[in-house]
């Protein structure tokens, strides 16, 4: 009834085994799917598009001439994760984020991990993301990483690997929430068949986390956005509304007598916690980029006196930098005395001569990334590139080796996805959102991104990726 393309052998597919047989946790879904007509499902997809448009769940694409807002394509086949897998992931995420937080405290205080010789000093202190202004500053409860988005992938061996940690301003959580709402609206009958863990309480958890970040008794929390033209503006507005706090822009805030205030209709009002969705460099034109119109002059000085909390803290970028990433397993051992539950992807650091040689020779098989790049920009996927592209990248890497790392081309797992020809496997990743407050918590869920082009491994929405609802099963 549905034109179902089987996954290529040797890949890990979330729904199907190589033989074409179903994995047990997809059985119910397959039964249900079998009973649907392609027409009815096409109608549901059209309905989803219309609803997303109406709600305005859109993102702006940088460099798009029209400046148009686009929908991130939403796929209606859920990504289903068995309970046992999630338990492992949750424990691994908690462990990893705890270690990253301790690492940040350490490198802005005693530098124990550097002294112990586990990470070269220049990797930390010469890193552009390292903020000297943070040295010695004590934050309440020692929390730096209030919100972390960890990108996970599943390799063809069936194991999960951490692709990167996002400790600056990870986005995408609104899609996790809206995708679920959409699936429940379109296919309520599926939720009767599956014990899907709820995610809708995320904004409440987030607000608790942000409140806990301050020592004020009744802290005033705000969400700081660069404004309606930012690609993630929808999410900023959405989270502010869901938490019932003000969505502010830099122009709404000002510093007076070493405290931060927002301009309101009843006069200035103190602000205690900023969930900031703008990068460090734009926060305070007096301290960082002077040309920034997005931030608040004097904010850093207020921050350093402890009169306002920023979530995440300034200077967290040093810990999710691709040049620091290879050391995270060591951090876990060093700070927690535990073996890492989640694995890193093997990584060659081009700053090391031996690694560089390996990368230059094997570039056609590797994924090469800029150390500070994000969003799928400035990277090379060897097997998917032309000779000319590879040669160009080889020249770039040779010219500035320490700016690059390389990883084996991982075979991201696939999940059946609606495409023009019917249903076919497309590669996916997973970004759970981890909150650090009184303890490290998360909702059982995350954002599943899907590369809609056949064979593509780039899932970023700016590069033509879509999203799926992620179902963590409770049993």
């Amino acid at each position: 009834m549905h034109a179902l393309t089987l996954p290529a052998p040797g890949h890990y597919d979330e729904m199907l085994l190589d033989s074409g047989a179903l994995r047990p946790h997809y059985q119910q879904f397959a039964n249900w799917l079998h009973a649907q007509t392609p027409d009815a499902l096409a109608k549901k997809r059209a309905e989803a598009d219309l609803l997303f448009h109406k709600v305005g769940i859109t993102f702006a694409v940088y460099g798009d001439e029209a400046g148009a807002e686009r929908l991130i394509p939403f796929d209606t086949v859920p990504r289903i994760v068995p309970a046992s897998e999630w338990q492992m992931l949750e424990a691994g995420l908690r462990q990893r984020v705890s270690a990253l937080n301790k690492f940040l405290w350490d490198i802005y205080h005693e530098h124990e991990i550097v002294k112990a010789g586990l990470i070269p000093a220049e990797q930390v202190f010469a890193n552009a993301q390292y903020q000297p202004a943070m040295q010695g500053l004590d934050l309440p409860h020692g929390i730096y990483t209030h919100i972390t988005g960890v990108d996970l992938i599943r390799h063809s061996d069936g194991g999960y690997y951490v692709l990167e940690d996002n400790l600056r301003v990870p986005s995408g959580v609104s899609y996790m929430l809206e995708n679920r709402k959409m699936m429940m609206r379109l296919f309520p009958e599926l939720f009767a068949r599956y014990p899907v863990a709820p995610v809708a309480h995320y904004p409440t958890l987030l607000l608790n986390t942000l409140r806990h970040a301050s020592v004020a008794e009744q802290p005033t929390v705000v969400v700081l956005t660069p404004g309606p033209f930012n690609s993630a503006y929808f999410e900023h507005a959405f989270l502010a509304q869901q938490m019932g706090v003000e969505l502010v822009e830099g122009q709404d805030l000002f510093v007076k007598d070493e405290y931060l205030y927002m301009r309101t209709t009843v006069g200035p009002q103190r602000v205690d916690v900023i969930y900031r969705r703008i990068d460090d460099a734009f926060l305070d034109p007096l301290a960082f980029r002077a040309d920034s119109m997005l931030g608040v002059p004097g904010l850093l000085s207020v921050y350093k006196q402890g009169h306002v909390i920023l979530a995440n803290a300034i200077g967290t970028g040093v810990a999710d930098d691709k040049s620091i990433y290879p050391y995270v397993p060591d951090m876990i051992r060093f700070y927690l005395g535990e073996e890492p539950i989640l694995h890193n992807v093997p990584t060659w650091q081009c700053r090391k001569p031996a690694d560089l040689d390996h990368v230059l020779v094997n570039m056609a098989e590797l994924v090469v990334k800029e150390v500070h790049g994000a969003g799928g920009y400035g990277m090379l996927v060897g097997p998917a590139s032309t000779q000319a592209e590879i040669a160009d990248f080889r020249a770039r890497v040779s010219a500035n080796p320490s700016n690059y790392i390389a990883q084996p081309t991982l075979c991201l797992s696939s999940c059946p996805t609606f495409v023009e020809s019917g249903i076919a496997p497309r590669h996916i990743d997973l970004r759970p959102f981890v909150l650090t407050g009184r303890e490290v918590t998360m909702v059982a869920g995350g954002l599943t991104r899907v590369a809609l082009k056949q064979g593509s491994l780039v899932v970023n929405s700016s590069q033509g990726g879509g999203t799926k609802d992620t179902w963590i099963l409770e049993a």
């Binding site: 109406k54 309606p228 509304q241 209709t265 200035p268």
Partner: protein, 322 residues
């Protein structure tokens, strides 16, 4: 509430209201220009341009005054900042910036209006009347969604304030365009029953009343033929006609106590409340004779000045207070 948010909520609703009233004006212009006896269809057609201050811009880009072109310019032209679609776009932009403060029903109503509207210049509009109806329906939907879903908090009152400041202003402007038709009659303010109801007058007044949805109200109140004096009384002084100046100023006066404004220890909203109170009193105790004595055009010009003053005071008190 953030000052910026308050301003954007206020302008969001002003633009929705403006789009609706603009359509009402275009509608009356349209029907009057179709009349064979119309005294110079050109004068009628030019009225919306005069009222919105876009006559020059129109002449700059168009050689002749012609119904179709006028419609495109005033309704669909996104290069004309005063066009209906421009208003809907501004409304949507403001709503986008404050979507955390409005309900999803309101946002969806405003956003869907813009998404549908922005296709119209490309696709064209089958007939103008259905466009007018569409805009009015969308405006009713947005206002209904506001009334039916939004918590009665400051956001609500800023939205309502924008609605009635804009509506009062727009009704006054629309009336003013027609006021020259009232002025000649005032020379002999003879008892109403002496006035001869000429056919053109009948159509002028009925079109005006219909465009303000006040035709039925007129008949319910006066149960008599149409004349200038009563039309003026109805649209300026009656408290029970929802688009009359009196009704708008009553609403404004009643909304303001719900909005706090402090700047330091001063009540920054005091001036706003005073201005609104005076305006409401003037309308409450005014008589149609006073209006006619002063001249309708003159009276309306003063009203528009005071309305603009009120708008400035609102801006200073709530949007630029600190």
């Amino acid at each position: 509430m953030l000052s910026r948010t308050a301003a954007q909520l206020y302008w969001m609703s002003r633009y929705v209201e403006r789009a609706e009233n603009l359509v009402r004006m275009l509608d009356v212009t349209h029907s009057l220009s179709l009349l064979p006896q119309s005294r110079g269809a050109m004068t009628e057609l030019a009225a919306p341009l005069a009222v919105t201050g876009t006559l020059e811009a129109y002449n700059h880009s168009h050689q002749t005054l012609e119904a179709n072109r006028l419609f495109n310019f005033m309704a669909l032209d996104l290069n004309n900042p005063a066009s209906v679609l421009s208003c809907l776009r501004h409304a949507r932009e403001n709503a986008h910036a404050v979507r955390g403060q409005i309900t999803s029903e309101m946002w969806e109503a405003i956003n869907a209006t813009w998404l549908e509207g922005r296709e119209m210049p490309k696709r064209g509009v089958a007939d103008v009347s259905s466009f007018y109806d569409w805009v009015k329906e969308r405006s009713h939907l947005i206002r209904g969604a506001t009334q039916g879903t939004l918590q009665r908090n400051e956001a609500y009152y800023f939205i309502r304030l924008g609605t009635f400041i804009e509506r009062g202003d727009n009704t006054a402007r629309l009336l003013d365009v027609k006021s020259q038709l009232i002025e000649p009659a005032e020379a002999n303010l003879a008892p109403v029953n002496v006035a001869v109801e000429s056919a053109p007058d009948f159509y002028t007044w009925s079109a005006l009343l219909r465009s303000l949805s006040a035709f039925e109200a007129y008949h319910a109140v006066y149960r008599d033929r149409l004349d200038a004096r009563r039309v003026a009384e109805l649209l300026i002084l009656r408290p029970d006609v929802p688009r009359s100046l009196r009704a708008c100023s009553d609403e404004i006066r009643d909304i303001l106590p719900h909005i706090e404004a402090r700047s330091g220890s001063l009540d920054a909203g005091r001036i706003v409340k005073q201005l609104a109170g005076r305006m409401a009193l003037r309308l409450e105790h005014g008589t149609v004779d006073e209006v006619l004595e002063l001249g309708v055009h003159h009276w309306l010009t003063t009203f528009l000045q005071k309305s603009a003053q009120l708008g400035d005071a609102v801006r200073e008190a709530y949007f630029e207070a600190n």
